[in-house]
Structure formats: structure tokens, C-alpha cells
């Protein structure tokens, strides 16, 4: 399934209308907002955390925060940017509390990594195979949370540097630098298994 981006012209107008209706007292419009974004929020959290049950709990927590704070949302930024910010911060808080450790890849993973890197020419095959999906998540988990966040927002969510900078509240230069370091970290992990990197 291709990645669907949160933001484009028309959905923004729809979001604005739903939020305004919520502020005017029509609480049912919140259900529409949740149904529109639940999959996207969950997928972002899952990519950051790597655990389906925990990601579901955190996604619920994110929407509870959105519900509480939506009254104060003043349309100065896109709703999706604001939603990404809450999603990322809640996930990072959770990782800090849980003291998440980065996963280290061992030689047993090597075979699957090789397969993944050389198979990735045909993504449809990788999509069908559970063990390769687990391997992709493992690669993400092998990077420190600070760098993983920008990598997920760039590669999984397809955001621009500017959108990422707004979502995580830092400069475009910092985004660029973290992304560079994330890829360097990933390269070091992959190097033993990918001949072309040597």
C-alpha cells in the first residue's frame, strides 16, 4: 500500500471546517477527524516504536490530547503539522519513560538484510513477506530515537524538510543535519552486509 500524505489543498479546508464545527459545539465532528487520521497517526507511531499494541495505546493518548487542546488551536499552522507534533512528542515521551534501547543487528540478521537490500528493487515482494517487514522495522529500531524521528518523517511519511522542521520544532538546518546523521548511522549498520558500501 503506498504511503498517503496527510496534507494537500482540499483536505486542509475540510480539516478547518471540522475543527470550526468542533469549536462551535458540534462534538461529532471530532469523530470524523479521528477516522480521517487514525491510520496515519498509528502508522507514524508504529514506525517510531515498533510495537503494535503500544502504538495503539499511544495513538489513543494522542487523540485524547488533541481533543483537550483543539479548542485552543488557532489555525496558525496546518492541523496536520500540529497533529504530527503531538504524535512525535507523545511517542518520544513514551520512549524516554520506557528507556527504549536501540536494537543491535547481529550476524543472524545479515542474511535477511542482504535479501532486503537486493530485493528492494521490487518493493511488492518485500510487502508480501512478513520477515522482511520485520527487518525494515528492525533497521529503524537500530537508529537512536532522535535521528529515527526525522528518518521516519522523511522516508515513511514523505514530509519535506520544512514540514519536518515545523513538526519537531527545530530549524531546517537541524533537520538536514539529523537526517544526514541518521543515514550515516544506518550505513554503518548495513555496511557488513551490503558489498557495495564497502
Amino acid at each position: 500500500m503506498p504511503s498517503i500524505r496527510l496534507n494537500s489543498g482540499k483536505p486542509m479546508e475540510e480539516d478547518r471546517e471540522l475543527i470550526q464545527r468542533f469549536k462551535d459545539g458540534d462534538k461529532s465532528s471530532f469523530e470524523k477527524l479521528v477516522k480521517k487520521y487514525e491510520a496515519k497517526v498509528f502508522n507514524t507511531i508504529y514506525s517510531l516504536i515498533g510495537d503494535s499494541m503500544e502504538a495503539d495505546d499511544i495513538a489513543q493518548e494522542v487523540f485524547m490530547k488533541v481533543y483537550q487542546r483543539l479548542e485552543g488551536f488557532n489555525f496558525e499552522s496546518k492541523f496536520t503539522t500540529w497533529l504530527y507534533r503531538i504524535t512525535v512528542n507523545t511517542s518520544l515521551d513514551h520512549m524516554r519513560k520506557r528507556k527504549t534501547k536501540v536494537v543491535s543487528l547481529d550476524s543472524e540478521d545479515g542474511k535477511r538484510i542482504k535479501e532486503l537490500l537486493y530485493l528492494s528493487i521490487d518493493p511488492s515482494e518485500a510487502l508480501e513477506r512478513r520477515e522482511l517487514q520485520e527487518m525494515i522495522q528492525m533497521l529503524l529500531n537500530s537508529i537512536s530515537p532522535k535521528y529515527r524521528t526525522v528518518l521516519v518523517l522523511k522516508e515513511i511519511e514523505g514530509l519535506s524538510y520544512k514540514e519536518i522542521s515545523k513538526a519537531i520544532g527545530c530549524s531546517i538546518g537541524t533537520v538536514e543535519s539529523r537526517l544526514f546523521r541518521a543515514r550515516a548511522e544506518l550505513r554503518r549498520r548495513l555496511e557488513p552486509y551490503y558489498e557495495e558500501l564497502r
Binding site: S3, I4, F42, A59, Q60, L117, S120, F180, R187
Partner: protein, 155 residues
């Protein structure tokens, strides 16, 4: 040569991320024609991009909204009830104070002087109101009880 390639790498990242303008892209294209090392780096970036693109979009557990709605209601309702209770309390308090002041003024004008406690007792005010007016410590439960009973009377 390697040192020079390191300087190019940030630019190559922006190149594969589509963050360069036409001029920047042209500059990178020219460099790539001449540099095998940077060609290898670009291949690495493109490979990892393909890997992440192959990541399946995951979905939350079923009935996400059905599970969320009661939690929102629980949190939303408790705040709303407290807000209503506080508003009612303020209104009831103001009315009681107004009645007492009017009655005291009337008594004063007729020349009858009573202490506040005696006055409240004589006029049948409830123990909760007497406690509030005489400045005794009043617990949250007592306040809520007074407000809720006044709400019941109002219905």
C-alpha cells in the same frame, strides 16, 4: 578525493530528497559524472529509500473510535460537570448573600439587632449555608452537595 566527497554528501542527501532547485541539481549531476565514490553514495541513498518505501502501512486495532469515544466522554464530562457546579455555586452564593443583606438592612431599619448566626437560624437557612456564611471551613463534598441539591430543586 575522499575529503572532497564528504563535503558533497549533504548536498547529495538534499538531491535524493528533492530539496534542490534546478541549478543545484545540475551542479550535482555534473559532479556525479566524474565521481565514482559519490555515485556509490547516491546508490546507497536510493537503495535505503526503496527499502523504506516497501514498508507496509500498518493499521490500528479494530474499532479505534469505539474504544476512544468513552475515554473522551469520561474526561470531557467530569470537567464539564465541575464547571457547571462552580457556576451554580457562584449563582446560589450571590443570591443568598443578597437576600441576607436585604433582610439585615430591613431588621436594622426596624431597630432589631441579631448576630448573623442567629439571623440565619431564625430564618431557616440550611447548616451548609450557615457554615459558608459564618466562615467555617467547608469541604468540597459539602459544596458539591449544596450545588447539586439546588440543581435538583431547580428542575
Amino acid at each position: 578525493m575522499e575529503m572532497e566527497c564528504r563535503r558533497w554528501r549533504k548536498l547529495l542527501n538534499r538531491y535524493v530528497d528533492g530539496e534542490l532547485d534546478g541549478r543545484g541539481r545540475l551542479k550535482v549531476d555534473e559532479h556525479l559524472k566524474l565521481c565514482g565514490r559519490c555515485q556509490g553514495y547516491i546508490r546507497y541513498l536510493e537503495t535505503t529509500k526503496r527499502v523504506f518505501k516497501a514498508k507496509r502501512v500498518e493499521s490500528p486495532r479494530p474499532y479505534f473510535w469505539t474504544r476512544l469515544a468513552p475515554r473522551l466522554e469520561e474526561r470531557g464530562t467530569s470537567w464539564h460537570e465541575l464547571e457547571v457546579a462552580m457556576k451554580r455555586l457562584t449563582l446560589v452564593g450571590s443570591m443568598v448573600a443578597l437576600i441576607i443583606m436585604a433582610s439585615l438592612t430591613s431588621l436594622y431599619l426596624r431597630g432589631e439587632v441579631l448576630s448573623l448566626d442567629e439571623f440565619l437560624l431564625k430564618n431557616g437557612f440550611s447548616p451548609e449555608v450557615r457554615a459558608v456564611m459564618s466562615g467555617d471551613e467547608v469541604g468540597f463534598g459539602l459544596l458539591m452537595g449544596t450545588t447539586l441539591s439546588s440543581q435538583e430543586e431547580g428542575r
